[in-house]
């Protein structure tokens, strides 16, 4: 009975599901408000939300404006705050730039003096010696320590080279994972489980850390997921992110519309946006492409290469005023070329 009923709701042949999906997402999209929400502890992480986030996802931007990762922990660390903090410290990205209070180059001697900030060192729980050792290893240069002051010998008096070393120092990652951003421990109030959120999306790097639950690591960066877990995971991530963004704005769109969009974006095996450089720009029909954007470019190219248009899509048929191939219009009388021989005259 239930099965019978459910089959009544199946999509009919010729139903323009893509158009329905586009309208179902587009209409509530007009009601979205520009609002941002904050994360306790990460002052920099104000997640992009609402329409800008939808646009970012649908256009398949290589990197989200505000990357965020959720790192769940293994059985031991997820119950104990100290263990969780230890894992977070391994992930938390600290760049030299944040630890430096003052940096002075001595071009005559070819040395660079760095005054470290005591406050920053304490908050990252590091000693000047640790910083010096790490820096020396990264640059393969000699680093002397005196109180809070580090002295780097560059072995050159060339102005440009000394300056290049300075830039390298400021950018070097002293602890944590490059591209992981600031990581802090959060607690799930319902289950009492500890987990980490970080303001970066380098989940490839985070996978190497001990104590994390590798089967649940997640980021809002679709391309990071695609690289690490493949196209099917990317498809799931696109749909999930779209739904999260819409839910946040209290807009309910049926998941199947979002899944269709995600399927269309990943059908080629890689993640493609829907715009000019993605799905719309790769349509087979010349007229459909010309009707979208860069009309003249497409028409001239088509003329130059002698392209043909099969006139099978919706756009090109509207353009010439013919019946569009959806619904009852999609029925055609057709025969395969190889079956032509079977036809008796």
């Amino acid at each position: 009975m239930a099965k019978e009923k459910s089959s009544d709701f199946k999509v009919e042949f010729g139903e323009p599901v893509g158009m329905i999906a586009a309208q179902s997402v587009g209409e509530p999209g007009t009601q979205m408000i520009l609002r941002s929400f904050h994360f306790a502890g990460i002052e920099s992480a104000i997640a992009t939300s609402g329409l800008p986030r939808i646009v970012e996802l649908v256009d398949a931007k290589k990197r989200p404006t505000t990357p965020l990762s959720t790192i769940y922990l293994d059985a031991k660390a997820s119950r104990n705050i100290d263990d969780a903090e230890k894992v977070a410290a391994k992930i938390n990205e600290v760049r030299m730039g944040t630890l430096v209070r003052r940096i002075i180059e001595n071009f005559a001697k070819g040395t660079i003096k760095i005054a470290l900030s005591r406050q920053e060192l304490e908050s990252e729980d590091m000693t000047p010696r640790q910083v010096a050792d790490r820096l020396g290893k990264l640059l393969s240069l000699e680093v002397a320590v005196e109180g809070l002051v580090l002295t780097v010998k560059t072995h050159t008096k060339n102005l440009k080279e000394v300056r290049a070393v300075r830039v390298k120092i400021m950018r070097s990652v002293i602890s944590g994972i490059e591209g992981a951003g600031k990581a802090i421990v959060q607690k799930n109030l319902k289950t009492g489980e500890f987990y980490i959120i970080s303001a970066g999306s380098n989940i490839e790097g985070m996978m190497g850390i001990e104590g994390i639950d590798k089967s649940r690591i997640y980021t809002n960066d679709v391309f990071a997921i695609y690289r690490l877990f493949g196209i099917e995971a990317a498809r799931n991530a696109i749909a999930r992110e779209l739904q999260l963004t819409l839910d946040e704005q209290k807009i309910s769109v049926d998941l199947r519309h979002l899944l269709l969009i995600a399927d269309a974006m990943t059908a080629s095996g890689s993640v493609k946006g829907v715009g000019r450089h993605g799905l719309s720009g790769e349509k087979k029909s010349v007229f459909a492409r010309a009707a979208y954007e860069e009309t003249v470019k497409h028409l001239i190219n088509a003329a130059a290469f002698g392209e043909t248009d099969q006139m099978r899509g919706v756009t090109e048929n509207i353009l010439v005023g013919k019946q569009i191939p959806i619904g009852t219009g999609s029925v055609r009388l057709a025969i395969k070329k190889e079956d032509m021989s079977k036809v008796k005259p």
Binding site: K214, S215, R216, I217, Y218, I225, R227, L228, F229, G230, I231, E232, A233, N236, A237, A239, R240, L255, R256, L259, D263, T266, A267, S268, G269, S270
Partner: protein, 76 residues
């Protein structure tokens, strides 16, 4: 040659046997080129050792609704 996924966001992938590919395509009006694609360099393809021309069966589950999806492996 089924392979169980080790991440909640990755569905199970499986290489389809040639016989199964034929029954799949015979029962429909599509050719193998019409199937959605998956790149040979895809992490899941590498785990399975799939080569271009193979069809991957994917055991999807959306909102508790389970179904299968197919992708053909292409170069890249």
């Amino acid at each position: 040659m089924a392979y169980r996924s080790d991440h909640e966001i990755v569905p199970d992938h499986e290489i389809l046997k040639l016989k199964e590919v034929n029954t799949l395509l015979d029962g429909s009006h599509i050719t193998i080129d019409n199937l959605p694609k998956i790149l040979e360099s895809d992490p899941q393809c590498k785990k399975l050792g799939a080569k271009p021309g193979h069809v991957i069966k994917i055991h999807r589950s959306d909102n508790g609704h389970s179904y299968t999806y197919y992708r053909v492996v292409i170069e890249g």
